[in-house]
């Protein structure tokens, strides 16, 4: 393949691709993102391919394997072009019907349509599904539209045009000016203005500079970086190449965790393709600018998502942070000026170059521009990947997009920003999400995890869970993080076990504040957020645990007891048969009784009871 050297050549290639592609030709787009794949979408693709072959339709119909569409709850998701008909929970045995009805005759398979739980109406088109309707998809826009392993798909939707524009028509300073003016901030969670970072790196003395894409997303429950890397790897590369051009770097690294094999595979394919077409390599667009990008696999440490630990890891040193009083933009990888951005930030860059700084600056709030990407999980009806303009109230995300709380239960708290984020209570549901407001509320943007909790969640137990994770993931270099988290966990474990006295809450608060102020890196400084925010908003629950030795949510095993309600139990014996401890006694058709001395509070009896006769106190 001849390398593309001018923007005319790129345009010509795109036009020839568009000419060859009929926009009205029916195309099945099957989501092969992680969530849908886990639900068997690979089998669905196979079924489509076989069925299309069987019916001899290969010329009339396309079948495309795309990345994550975002609505993971309803996977495997299939969208049929040109009308964008949206089918959900598609099984391989549905495929012949879809092919013969929808693809050939334009009819709709009613049973596979999504039903809006609010109105009870069936939704026909993808863009009308409430989950997508309220979103503003910019970075994730093309996730469900292109085959990530095919560079032609990316070029056909206008890919690499921003790169051509930046390199052939703009100076390095102009690119930085545009990014700075757009107000783009680091989407990895820090929120540092990207344009300013680039400028600092460009100005830093030295001939050798590096750019790094951070794809080491380690938060439990977050998968936005993963989806982007799997579904649209070229957008990340394009952003990185533009950034490297603006900064003056000739070597880039993508740091991706080894637990994301599909992302690694797709990125590698994308890099090879970009090299083949001359978007990477020497003399990109005849400008004399050279760049190569290498992938570095992470070894599984959460802390390596922190920029200085990431740098140490690429240098083959132990993945632990250093103090950043001298910034990485001045002295980073191999002590050379290094610009590290999250993969989502890089992927936003081509959009800004294509559409202009003013267009981007119009989206979002005064200080936080653009969109925020959240992995909406937990006790909501519609789990999945959500992209909304900055400043969207939490309520809209959880209720309008997320479809409210599972099983109609009551909302209790939402945790944003992964394990180091804080828990935001119901009173603050109107809070617009942007960098500043979330920090004020004691939480953070973080990597975009959003975990919704219902009334059955014990906030003390939540704090314990996340401390346990952080204790395991702390690198152990500095004392506050290593010893402080351990002691906080010790105290909270005592509280959940009913051994906590009232005064320990003061020690807990003191410890949390110290860890926040004194820790070396971002991981330690944000680690106590869950503790501090739960102490701030859910003090009652802590008090109930330490004073009354009760767990109001009925979660902490040492503080609860199971009871059988006299008026509801009919003596069916369902619980008795399942109790592994033989703690339930009772004759058939008579009231059963739980022996508290034997009961291990596993809760199996409650789940088994068909009459809801077992309750927790």
């Amino acid at each position: 393949m001849k390398k593309i050297r001018t923007s005319q050549e790129l345009k010509a290639l795109r036009n020839s691709l568009l000419q060859r592609r009929d926009p009205n030709k029916p195309c099945v787009r099957v989501c092969l993102g992680t969530g849908c794949r886990a639900r068997g979408s690979a089998d669905v693709v196979e079924a489509f391919t076989n069925e299309i072959k069987k019916q001899d339709l290969e010329i009339q119909v396309d079948c495309k394997q795309t990345g994550c569409h975002g609505f993971c709850e309803r996977g495997p998701v299939v969208v049929i072009r040109p009308k964008e008909i949206f089918y959900q929970r598609v099984k391989p045995h549905d495929v012949p019907e879809i092919v013969s009805k929808t693809l050939l005759n334009g009819e709709v398979v009613d049973s596979l349509l999504y039903t809006d739980p609010a109105s009870g109406q069936k939704v026909l088109y993808e863009y009308e599904v409430p989950f997508y309707k309220k979103q503003a998809r910019l970075v994730l826009a093309n996730n469900g539209r292109i085959d990530p392993t095919n560079i032609f798909d990316y070029i056909a939707i206008g890919g690499y045009q921003a790169l051509a524009k930046a390199i052939t028509t703009m100076s390095c300073e102009e690119v930085i000016d545009t990014v700075e003016k757009s107000g783009l901030r680091g989407l990895g969670g820090g929120g540092f203005p990207t344009g300013r970072k680039w400028r600092l790196c460009r100005k830093a003395p030295g001939d050798v500079k590096f750019v790094i894409g951070n794809g080491d997303e380690g938060d439990p429950g977050a998968f936005s970086d993963r989806s982007l890397m799997e579904a649209n790897p070229h957008s990340i590369l394009e952003g990185m190449i533009i950034g490297a051009y603006a900064i003056g770097a000739n070597q880039g690294y993508l740091y991706v965790r080894a637990e994301y094999p599909l992302a690694l595979k797709h990125l590698q394919i994308a890099i090879d393709q970009a090299r083949e077409y001359g978007f990477l390599g020497n003399n990109i667009f005849n400008s004399g600018f050279n760049l190569d990008i290498k992938i570095n696999r992470g070894g599984g440490a959460f802390v390596c998502g922190e920029s200085s630990a990431l740098v140490a890891s690429i240098e083959s040193k132990m993945g632990e942070p250093r103090a950043k009083y001298i910034h990485t933009v001045e002295r980073g990888l191999w002590n050379k000026p290094t610009n590290i951005n999250n993969v989502k930030t890089w992927a936003s860059v081509p959009l800004i170059i294509n559409n202009g700084a003013d267009w981007y600056a119009k989206i979002g709030t005064e200080k936080s521009k653009g969109t925020a990407i959240f992995s909406l999980v937990g006790k909501v009806n519609n789990t999945g990947l959500v992209e909304v303009p900055m400043g969207t109230p939490l309520k809209d995300i959880i209720y309008d997009i997320g479809g409210g709380i599972l099983e109609g239960k009551k909302f209790k708290a939402v945790q944003t920003g992964g394990p180091s984020g804080g828990c935001i209570p119901e009173e603050l549901l109107d809070l617009p999400v942007d960098f500043e407001r979330l920090t004020e509320a004691g939480s953070m943007m973080g990597s975009g995890g959003m975990i919704v909790m219902d009334e059955d969640t014990c906030m003390v137990d939540v704090a314990r869970y996340f401390l346990d994770f952080l204790q395991y993931e702390s690198c152990g270099k500095c004392v506050p993080c290593r010893e402080g988290i351990k002691r906080m966990l010790e105290i909270i474990t005592d509280i959940t076990a009913g051994r906590g006295k009232e005064e320990v809450l003061e020690i807990l608060q003191e410890l949390a504040e110290m860890v926040k102020d004194f820790s070396l890196c971002g991981l330690g400084q944000t680690a106590p957020n869950t503790v501090l925010s739960t102490l701030r908003y859910f003090r009652d629950e802590y008090n109930a645990h330490v004073r009354d030795k009760k767990c109001p949510a009925g979660i902490c095993k040492d503080l609860i007891e199971y009871f059988i309600l006299e008026d509801k139990c009919i003596g069916c014996g369902a619980c008795l048969k399942l109790c592994s401890q033989k703690a339930i006694q009772g004759d058939p058709n008579k009231l059963h009784i739980i022996d508290h001395a034997k009961c291990i509070r596993c809760g199996i009896c409650r789940d088994a009871c068909p009459y809801e006769a077992i309750m927790v106190k």
Binding site: A301, Y325, V479, E483, E490
Partner: protein, 224 residues
Amino acid sequence: MVTLTINGTKVQAEEGSTILEVARFYGIDIPTLCYHDELTPYGACRLCMVEIDDGRRTRLVASCLYPVKEGIKVKTNTERVVKKRKLILELLLARCPNSKTLQDLASEMGLEQVRFKMENEDCILCGLCVRMCAEQMGSGAIGFVGRGQKREVVTPFRVASEICRNCGACMYICPVVELQCRGVKSPGEICNSCLVFTPRCLEKYGQVMCTLDSCGACVEKEEK
């Protein structure tokens, strides 16, 4: 040269030096455990945290690493800093209750009790030995392994190192293992004896013995 303020006093310092170096040069004491003049600063013990005001905001920085800048105002002993330093020390003492260095520091800082469950570790993972071995002895026979709670200093693969020359520099520089405090009688107690004792050994030996090794004799005698 840059001019900065430390605890209200205007001082001049060479560019590139750290707050800790400057403060110590002017006789202002900042406690440290993982710092040594001749080794690369590491910033792990966090005892040397100070408050700085750079005109835009006040923040806490590790003085052993922070390079002095023109016009910054440094406060080494504010309430915010001192209270948290004490808590750090408390955490370390809960880990290594019998370290004389830690016990002495606790007495100096006025720490009265340790409120956490006691452990019996020897090492505070300050990394002085690791840096000493690599930087001054040119050997690099020991290093950190493991993460978080499992972190420890060992030789590679825990086998006797071929490049270790048994020079003892690691033992020489270790702030906690070398001197054991023998005065502590119950868990959580801060010994304090060394700071208030009358050196009885002076009469017998003509010198104070416990600068080399705390014999504990003074404490025991006082109790009898």
